[in-house]
Symmetry: C2
Subunit: 404 residues, 2 copies
């Protein structure tokens, strides 16, 4: 079902990052469902996490451990979110950190746990603990692609991307990242799970700034269903095996630009693989007073069930776009400044339908699997892109049957 | 498909209100699609209208006319919303007001127009104008039930309710109302269309206060899909044919209480008849700091696609309720104060799953067509009820095929 999305052909290894994967039969046996990233000594890591008040146990612990110092291990399981599990869930996550730390001669605080899957069930510790026990001694590298597969839940395609950054003066670094997610997607900090790494050496504060900036234009600009997950997390690690870089470097803008591009590719991959998606849409809002206003309008349209079902049908029912813009939580919108277009077909100008509007042309655009909805508010110069999917029978089917 | 909803057996006439209905073939011939309410001289009327910035042409005109004085005629068409039609749409609506006023010896400003149906198409004036021409002279009373049928769009059951109010001292008055709506339902002032009348004589300011208060607990407490319509409007007329009443009267609280009850019945009828609905749910939020907070949490749960699809499946996937509560736009929610129940089955206590929780019991509740979701935030004494429906295949089907 994924819209214009195929698995990455190859992901560039990042010196200083090694991946292990293992089958712990967390939800069902038959696939690797734990991925462990081993980070070289000296790696700095930045993270962003869900703003959901019911943050899952692993989110709580990962945030605490990340605040305490530089992690050496990321341990990620799919099939169970360890969310809504209370203190028992936190103890389970800590037990896993302690086990890995003990096996590997590390402190528990050097291990960051991540979980994704069903909410409200305890982790199957009796299966997970044995599965993790041999990993520390195994020096093979399963690679980024295997890790991307291991962290999938309802994803149908693994998601990863690589970039090589030209920092000038003959200096280069690589960035590789993986992500998972296809439902409960409306990140309000980061979305679901994404793990990026570069071989450059970057101080943690600069790394964090770069992650936050790139995150706003990528994982924080997508929505499938408006449901912000309890488990959203994204990390960016700099292993320090390559060039030394910080925010004063002339190559820094290039690094941030390509990091943003890579994270946008991963974020859009989540939307392309959204539960039941048949269309990928870029809600491009322009002419806003400020970026918050542009985002509010973009999200209101992107989350409108009526717009999303019309998109599923390929029906240029632009009245639903107009109605969504009109109810967006922004102040004093003057409708006579609003223009709306689907693809390159102008529909509404100055708040009124254009006399030359041809519905057949708009229908032809909406018959495509991928198109842009252009909204110009006509009262400022801020703009943004919000990426979203349609609402199909299969979205309902997948989410009605998720636990059965 | 409607959930526990049948058409009203009888609606009590209100002295001073007469209804005409007529088939103008607005969307298709074969049913009456215009209803006209004739209000006796001396009737006072209050109204509440959509907050959508793209308010439809009839909303703009009805608000203007209502501000100018007491209306004598309400003219309501289904099949076409006359929204997103710009200045041409306003001229169409005014033309209809002028025609009716001319036929009946009234001022155009004494006519309030209302429209509901598809957005973005001009009214079929060549069919509507002739259909309206004979109505003024026809003194038959089609009755409230026929009017309720004429204003339906995707509604499957007409919606109406009556109450007799005991005002004390042997005084009584009646209230009767009708409503329509089943999609694009997330009122932010009034929802869709609802018309109530009483035979009491009530000054307009008091009538307006009563309407606003009752509206908050009824039409402003329901959601089907989070999409606030461009055409929402509700009016309350007091014909003055019966008792004289104002807000200082000892019978006033009884009047407001029964008005609220009647409007809740109409509002819940809209949810019961929601597009594709198979379940009717009362999201009961308690323990909030204030009513705004309670409403924010209730709406976040009621509009969560993941909660709504789980409800469709009858799946007590309470993690989705918890995740929705956690992302609600309220400040500093301490999850260890939160309790969640489905019907009388307690699930979460103090933010953690209860050890005695029995999923089979919760599944039995959710197998019913109607149940309550109880959410106690544990940090205050404000509470509210938000009424909503599930998200089914048929919701997608109805909205993907609406215009075809």
């Amino acid at each position: 079902m994924a819209v214009n999305l195929v698995a990455p052909e190859a992901l560039t290894p990042v010196a200083g990052v090694r991946w292990s994967t293992v089958d712990a039969a967390i939800k069902a046996p038959g696939r690797d469902d734990i991925a462990v990233a081993w980070l070289a000594p000296g790696t700095s890591t930045a993270g962003v996490f869900t703003t959901n008040a019911f943050a899952a146990a692993p989110v709580t612990i990962a945030k605490r451990h990340l605040a305490g110092g530089a992690p050496r291990v990321l341990v990620i399981n799919s099939g169970n979110a360890n969310a809504g599990t209370g203190m028992a869930g936190e103890r389970d996550a800590m037990t896993l950190c302690e086990q890995i730390a003990g096996d590997c001669g590390l402190e528990p605080a050097e291990v960051l746990p991540f979980s994704t899957g069903v909410i409200g069930q305890r982790l199957p510790m009796t299966r997970m603990a044995p599965a993790l026990s041999h990993l520390c001694a195994d020096t093979r590298d399963a690679g980024w692609q295997a890790a991307a597969r291991a962290i999938m839940t309802t994803d149908t395609v693994e998601k990863g991307a690589s970039r090589e950054v030209d920092l000038g003066d003959g200096r280069r670094c690589v960035i590789t990242g993986i992500a998972k997610g296809s439902g409960m997607i409306c990140p309000n900090m980061a979305t679901m799970l994404a793990f990026m790494a570069t071989d450059a050496a970057i101080p943690e504060p600069d790394l964090h700034d770069a992650l936050v900036a790139a995150n706003q234009a990528s994982f924080n600009s997508i929505t499938v269903d408006g449901d912000t997950s309890t488990n959203d997390a994204a990390t960016l690690s700099a292993t320090g095996q390559g060039v030394v870089l910080d925010s004063t470097d002339t190559g820094w803008p290039a690094f941030v630009a390509l990091l943003t591009e890579l994270m946008q590719e991963l974020a859009c991959a989540i939307v392309r693989d959204a539960e039941g998606a048949t269309r990928f849409m870029d809600i491009h809002v322009r002419g806003a007073k400020d970026i918050d206003e542009a985002r509010a309008v973009g999200y209101t349209v992107a989350q409108s069930p009526l717009f999303k079902t019309a998109a599923f049908a390929g029906d240029p029912n632009w009245g639903r776009i107009l109605a969504a813009v009109g109810r967006a939580p922004i102040d004093h919108l003057a409708i006579d400044g609003v223009d709306i277009a689907i693809g390159d077909v102008a529909i509404v100008a100055g708040g009124q339908p254009r006399p030359d509007y041809d519905e057949a042309e708009a229908a032809a655009v909406m018959a495509r699997p991928e198109f842009t909805v252009g909204i110009d508010l006509g009262r400022g110069s801020a703009e943004t892109h919000i990426f979203t999917s349609d609402l199909s029978y299969d979205y309902v089917k997948i989410n009605a049957e998720y636990r059965s």
